[in-house]
């Protein structure tokens, strides 16, 4: 039993059921939350976690079931009532207006539309951001903030309204490990003040660190509820996927020829984001090259070069030993570069296109059309193949991709990238937001691609992932690239020093 067992119940979900067409996203889900408690909500991609929280907050209306906050039932489908009852929500996809300042986003809707502003809003925001360690400037335009800062604004929004229950839907999916640590410090302060938190995450070490209790959903049903200190990561993972799970491990292999080579590639700085500084990188056949580093250190610029989205300011790119003359996204695709983009919503898919259309986005001109006419039958068959092979949970290939859960969207993009049997695979944060089962699957696919002779460039902030998969590891810091370290020659601590930029300098020549 957790130490909060006797505390007052602040939130009760009772037998919530919700279907989308034939798909039952929530099936009689019940959950209680006590004062000062952190409950982690776990489950595979598409298990129904976001749906449940959207019902609680009033974005969706449940088919059946009740939500009670402090003993009083909430009217369904009414976010205003949820806010008034003290529920605050940080959505999986931020709900901020980019054209407004931080202060305006926070106080939006907090006063009657027919009144004038009351004084003191700025002071309250400043006080909260000091008390909870949420540093962000009240007059900054939200559109110009980093993801980490936007996250803080979302939390401030809830605190500003004196929320008693805080829902965080995958808050750490897009944060750097450092930012996640800061977030946890904030959350601990909040629970110490008596707030209760529902925390959704696929990262089990975070769950073990912050949660008192875990509720596990599978296919919309609660399949388990455990106290955190009475369980471990492996048991939680097994509960989530309904069986034992083994993470794939890549065994060392002899690498093949260099497929892609970057020579002294530099790009200009972009605002606060550093450009590349004379980067030398070889991607070899049959080898996974891991790129470690805190995001925002030039990884995006490097990924753009590899994918053909940007041209180097200086330096050269060569493929199989011959320098490339023209370089563009189309050229990259044609030369066998596959891309798993970092941002699946904006760079990886078109929200209002269906799964078939999204599946053929990269091949409609070559593989799915003849003399300018689309072959929709082949396209549909292709999409159905991906859905089957990659276990994309969806009603069918004619579903608009925006309706998919984030993890399922990622699986479709992965299937699309892998289908033509690419020679070079750019995998930028490929498992961000995926559940443990899907992570194992995606990583297994990358290893399989390597084993059939593809060169894989894996960009990730997760050192465990990099160290587990990569044959060669480079570290990026401030736009500079470290020399390549063979598998097993570096400890996490040593890589950490490189990530902090301390090892660069004299070894630049390496």
């Amino acid at each position: 039993m957790s130490q909060n067992a006797g505390a007052e119940v602040v939130l009760r979900l009772d037998r919530i059921t919700k279907s989308f067409g034939a798909l039952r996203a929530n099936d009689a889900v019940s959950l209680t939350l006590r004062r000062g408690e952190v409950v982690a909500l776990l489950g595979e991609n598409g298990a129904g976690k976001t749906t449940l929280m959207n019902i609680l907050f009033g974005h969706y209306v449940a088919d059946e079931g009740v939500v009670e906050v402090f003993g009083a039932p909430l009217p369904p489908g009414n976010p205003r009532a949820a806010l008034a009852a003290g529920v605050g929500m940080v959505h999986q996809h931020f709900t901020l207006a980019g054209n407004l300042t931080v202060l305006d986003n926070i106080r939006l809707g907090t006063e009657s539309l027919w009144s004038r502003w009351h004084a003191g809003a700025r002071e309250k925001v400043q006080r909260l951001s000091r008390d909870f360690g949420l540093a962000v400037h009240p007059d900054a335009k939200v559109g110009r903030l980093s993801v980490g800062e936007r996250q803080r604004v979302e939390i401030l929004k809830a605190l500003y309204r004196d929320a008693r229950v805080l829902i965080l839907d995958e808050p750490t999916a897009v944060l750097t490990p450092q930012e996640s640590e800061a977030l946890f410090a904030t959350l601990r302060k909040a629970t110490a003040l008596g707030l209760s938190i529902i925390f959704i995450s696929h990262k089990l070490h975070e769950v073990m660190a912050i949660a008192d209790r875990c509720v596990v959903l599978r296919h919309g049903r609660v399949v388990g509820e455990v106290d955190t200190h009475a369980t471990d990561k492996a048991a939680l993972a097994a509960l989530m996927v309904g069986g034992e799970l083994s993470l794939p491990r890549a065994e060392a292999r002899a690498p093949g020829p260099v497929l892609m080579q970057l020579d002294a590639v530099s790009t200009p700085d972009r605002g606060a984001a550093p450009g590349l500084k004379a980067v030398r990188l070889s991607l070899r056949a049959g080898q996974i090259t891991g790129l470690a580093g805190v995001s925002g250190n030039g990884q995006a610029a490097l990924a753009e070069i590899v994918a053909g989205l940007a041209l180097p300011g200086s330096g050269a790119i060569s493929l199989r030993g011959s320098p490339v003359a023209r370089w563009s996204p189309g050229e990259a695709l044609a030369r066998g570069v596959a891309r798993i983009p970092e941002d699946r919503h904006h760079q990886g898919s078109i929200a209002d296109f269906d799964l078939t259309e999204n599946a053929v986005l990269e091949g409609y001109k070559t593989r799915f059309s003849r003399r300018g006419w689309m072959n929709w039958r082949a396209a549909r068959g292709f999409a159905e193949g991906i859905i089957r092979d990659y276990d994309v949970r969806c009603p069918g290939p004619e579903t608009r991709i925006r309706l998919l859960s984030g993890g399922n969207m990622q699986k479709l993009i992965l299937g699309r990238a892998m289908a033509p049997g690419p020679e070079i695979i750019l995998a930028n944060q490929p498992v961000r937001g995926l559940d443990v089962g899907a992570i194992a699957y995606v990583q297994g696919q990358l290893i399989a691609a390597r084993d059939r002779g593809a060169a894989v460039l894996l960009i990730s902030e997760d050192l465990d992932e990099i160290m587990g998969l990569s044959d060669v590891i480079h570290v990026m810091s401030q736009g500079r690239l470290s020399p390549g370290f063979a598998r097993g020659t570096m400890t996490a601590a040593e890589l950490g020093l490189w990530m902090a930029g301390q090892k660069f300098g004299d070894s630049d020549a390496a």
């Binding site: 976010p79 207006a97 106080r107 006063e111």
Partner: protein
């Protein structure tokens, strides 16, 4: 060249500029409110026609001038209600609905005209708004003449100020700006996306109609079918020109009005004898297109303009 300078420094020129700008300012403010809330209102052209007609007809039937303005506004709001019902809760295409509203409103005006005045051959005149006499201001030598304007013109400038103040200084304006950018942000803060968007379209349409009514109640004192003559479309361009900001949009309206007033006068100079008059007529449009290109380069479009919002979808 000196002829142009002569024109530019004459008080009568500036009086004309302000007069020509008035309906543009009113309707541009209306369109700006709609677009800031995320709804493109292509009904503007027709709503200006119905406003011109309804205001004039009401006064012809015996209502006072301000009564005519109110009737015009009400008629515009009615069409705004139609537009927003179709585009907001039903999420239909804003292009199709907007053009449909323009056609319907224009046709309604001519239908009602024929119905109410079956016999007449030329439209009857009404007694329009007279220039306001403002003590001490009206007696100034140059400014007195340039600012000799009707109450409706002064109202237009006041409306522009009010719109700017509401948008940037009040909780309501903040909600309108937010709903055009990201409706999900508005809903997550407990406000009604539908309510805000429909409200903005209805109020905006009312202003467009008053812009139309200026033509009959202040500028021409009678109603002709072709009198709106594309002004609505100009206003759509002016909103872009003004980068969705009221102050800049007013400047744009004055600039366009300036070109228009200038070309009329240029036609009467020596230049008018050599160049075809169509060229002069095209001048304001050409210059506006140029200005638009220059001004709107870095404009921030409301991110959710023309994107319908369906609650309960993601």
């Amino acid at each position: 060249m000196s002829e142009i300078v002569d024109i530019l420094i004459s008080a009568s020129f500036w009086a004309a500029v302000i007069r020509i700008a008035t309906p543009l300012i009113l309707a541009t403010m209306g369109e700006l409110i709609c677009e800031r809330a995320g709804v493109l209102n292509l009904g503007i052209e027709g709503i200006m026609v119905i406003g011109a007609f309804a205001g004039w007809m009401a006064v012809y039937q015996g209502l006072p001038l301000w009564g005519g303005v109110a009737v015009a506004m009400g008629a515009g709001m009615l069409f705004g209600l139609l537009h927003s019902t179709l585009t907001v809760p039903f999420g239909l295409s804003q292009h199709v609905v907007g053009l449909g509203v323009t056609l319907l409103a224009t046709a309604s005006a001519s239908f009602a005209y024929r119905l109410m005045l079956p016999e007449v051959t030329s439209p009857p005149k009404i007694e329009p708004f007279q220039p306001l006499h403002i003590p001490s201001l009206s007696d100034l030598p140059w400014a007195g003449e340039a600012l000799s304007q009707t109450a409706l013109t002064w109202t237009a400038f006041a409306v522009a100020g009010l719109v700017a103040w509401v948008l940037y200084r009040t909780p309501l304006g903040l909600a309108v700006r937010a709903v055009g950018e990201n409706p999900a942000a508005v809903e997550a803060q407990g406000l009604s996306v539908t309510g805000l968007r429909m409200g903005a379209v209805i109020v905006g349409s009312g202003l467009m109609a008053v812009g139309g009514a200026f033509l009959t109640l202040s500028a021409f004192s009678s109603f002709f079918f072709e009198m709106v003559n594309g002004r609505g479309w100009i206003c759509i361009a002016l909103v872009v020109f003004g980068a969705w900001k009221p102050g800049k949009a007013v400047l744009g309206a004055i600039l366009f009005a300036g070109f228009d007033a200038l070309q009329i006068r240029l036609q009467q100079t020596d230049l008018g004898a050599v160049l075809p008059y169509q060229l002069f007529l095209a001048l304001p449009f050409i210059l506006s297109i140029l200005a638009l290109i220059l001004m709107s380069r870095r404009a921030e479009v409301p991110a959710s303009l023309m994107v319908p919002y369906n609650k309960g979808e993601r």
